[in-house]
């Protein structure tokens, strides 16, 4: 196996030498380390810096090196040993923890009759965290509007008071079944939370989830995860901890060298943390990573490759076997990503039934309320959403021929997905599919003594993580105010803060 030794980090290494104590000047650069080694060292460096930034003493923060040090030594030993088998470490891609995006059942926008709504059918999911959606356009109204919808669940407030552990998650399960949202009419303001005013409330809604639970914290989902995904994580941990044990328990000489090196390195890292105030975060992480790799080169790689530390045949064999197991485990974990997507799909396709009450504070016309039954289930190959609703005026105005009941009817929506060419910046990024739906609503408007037919085709295009562009074309036989058919196009964008937070983490340190 030919191992390239071209370095592109020499300037950074020289910079590192300038900021380190004199003894570190004797360190050598670890040119072109294996990807998995560099990634683990970089992640460890990021955690050390984060701990220091939280106010922990530099020496204590540097001790976080211990959480990855043994695997760094193992990877380095495998890289230094002669022969091709241990060098499989160079084929290992950086380990990515399994995670998944793709919850699509949460109703992030306004209800179908709210200002600027692009939804004809409503989904029955309830976001646990504050979700924010700003949508432009209109359906079921004669004027265009811009709505800002805030949604949450009482459970979000419960966990401000109680630890949100598994026991309380079960105990306060009822609170998770409740949800509420407020939609503000933002036509004359910037669509931001800071600019909302109580007088702009266009509608408020309360929901109760009667059947189903799509949380990934339920015992049912955890059990599925244990059956499908956990065995593959287990295989990696077995291979990695076994390899570390073979290397370090098999060679007291290596163990002593690695221990001495980590102690010295922790001191150097602590010194650097204290002396590098004001240096950009990314640069600090890079320098700590370089320091770590240099220490590994000097105290592990060189002594092994130059046979100054000799490993027994049994240790060599143990490392080789562990490395082969690790390579296979990494490959299996890529398929586990799909397995996880599969069980998340199972979860997202489980039936949900929600009852919703909404009060519409109309800017024009009379205020009214409605009650809805919202049902969602998977009917292969589609996701089906069925709504039934009835609405009534708070104070019917006889001058407009209004009676107590405003309208009633039902909606059916069938949704499927196609591959998304957007939203992927790296090969391994998980991309949410484009959702395509077709919906039909039949309702009877009492004051007009007329039936209303509405048909809609909608595309939800995730353009990047947490940001979705909904587009729709709608035909209506009439609106609630004007007895003329119309075809209307709507567009908007939705932000999911849960996913944006997740994204912020996913790219931190890279």
């Amino acid at each position: 196996m030919v191992i390239p030794r071209v370095s592109c980090r020499t300037p950074l290494f020289l910079m590192t030498c300038l900021v380190l104590p004199c003894n570190a000047l004797q360190a050598q650069e670890y040119e072109n380390p294996p990807e998995v080694l560099r990634d683990a060292a970089s992640r460890g460096a990021a955690d050390i810096l984060s701990e220091f930034e939280r106010g922990t003493q530099a020496s204590e923060a540097a001790e976080l090196l211990d959480q990855v040090w043994n695997r760094l030594v193992f990877y380095t030993v495998a890289d230094a040993l002669p022969g091709d088998d241990p060098h499989e470490v160079r084929g290992l891609q950086a380990y990515r923890y399994l995670a998944e995006l793709g919850r699509t059942d949460k109703q992030l926008g306004a209800t179908s009759s709210g200002p600027g709504s692009t939804s004809l059918a409503e989904k029955p999911g309830i976001p646990e965290l504050l979700a924010l959606a700003v949508e432009h356009g209109a359906i079921e109204q004669s004027v265009n509007g811009t709505g800002l919808t805030l949604s949450t669940s009482p459970y979000a407030f419960v966990r401000l008071l109680e630890p949100d552990n598994a026991a309380n998650f079960e105990q306060y399960g009822l609170w998770r079944r409740l949800g509420g949202s407020v939609t503000f009419d933002m036509r004359s303001e910037d669509p931001t939370v800071a600019n909302v005013d109580i007088n702009q409330v266009a509608e408020w809604s309360v929901r109760v989830r009667v059947i189903g639970d799509r949380s990934t914290r339920t015992k049912k989902f955890t059990q599925r995860w244990s059956e499908v995904v956990q065995p593959k994580i287990q295989a990696r941990l077995n291979a990695l901890s076994g390899g570390i044990s073979k290397a370090l328990n098999g060679s007291p000489e290596l163990q002593d060298a690695a221990d001495s090196s980590s102690e010295a390195l922790k001191g150097q890292i602590a010194g650097y943390l204290e002396s590098s105030d004001g240096v950009p975060r990314e640069q600090r992480i890079e320098i700590i990573t370089t320091m770590t790799l240099s220490a590994l080169k000097t105290t592990v790689f060189d002594p092994i490759s130059e046979s100054r530390i000799a490993l027994s045949e049994e240790t060599f064999r143990g490392i080789t076997v562990a490395m082969s197991g690790l390579v296979k485990a990494h490959q299996d974990l890529f398929s586990a990503q799909q397995d996880l997507g599969g069980i998340l799909d199972e979860l997202n396709r489980s039936p949900l039934l929600t009852v919703a009450f909404t009060h519409h504070t109309k800017v024009q016309g009379s205020a009214y309320s409605d009650a809805k039954l919202l049902f969602e289930a998977h009917v292969a190959p589609f996701d089906a959403v069925v709504n039934g609703f009835i609405s009534w005026y708070d104070h019917p105005d006889p001058a407009f021929n209004q009676e107590s009941v405003r309208d009633f009817g039902g909606t059916v929506e069938l949704a499927g997905s196609v591959k998304n060419p957007f939203g992927r910046s790296k090969k391994l990024d998980v991309v949410e599919p484009i959702l395509i739906s077709a919906a039909y609503q039949l309702s009877r408007l009492e004051e007009a003594n007329d039936a209303i037919h509405i048909a809609q085709v909608k595309f939800s295009i995730p353009v990047t993580t947490g940001v979705t562009l909904p587009l729709s074309v709608t035909y209506a036989s009439r609106t609630d105010l004007i007895d003329e058919d119309e075809v209307r196009g709507n567009f908007g964008f939705s932000l999911d803060l849960d996913k944006l937070y997740a994204l912020a983490h996913a790219f931190a340190g890279f």
């Binding site: 970089s42 990021a46 955690d47 984060s50 001790e63 976080l64 211990d66 959480q67 990855v68 040090w69 043994n70 923890y97 399994l98 995670a99 998944e100 995006l101 919850r103 965290l129 966990r159 630890p163 949100d164 552990n165 598994a166 026991a167 079960e170 990934t216 914290r217 339920t218 015992k219 989902f221 955890t222 059990q223 995860w225 244990s226 995904v229 956990q230 994580i233 287990q234 941990l237 077995n238 291979a239 990695l240 901890s241 076994g242 390899g243 044990s245 073979k246 370090l248 328990n249 007291p252 163990q255 562990a322 849960d498 996913k499 937070y501 997740a502 912020a504 983490h505 931190a508 340190g509």
Partner: protein, 113 residues
Amino acid sequence: MKRKTKFRYDVSQGESVTIKVTPIETGARVTAADNGEKLENSNGPDTPTFEFEVDQVPGNSHFVIVECSFLDEDPNTAHFDFELRGSKGGVFKDVVVRKTNQIWDPEFRFTVS
């Protein structure tokens, strides 16, 4: 069990070590291995608990890796609280794996003294 750092401990031969992991704002998805062997969860699903008996010779170590699996839909404040306990003394409760951490599978080293 005596602590050297949050991730390194000295233990005695025959001592039992218990690692209890409490998930906060996330599901109980925890996996553990010790020197190449699976560590079974000896507790219920709410609070995964892993236990092993120190059987290495003096100078050698148990290398335990515990992976905490977050999902992207977990809030940014989600974390796992660890409690490490030795049957011959020593209880330590200040190890936390946060979703915002870069390392979700820390190593613990228990060296036989």
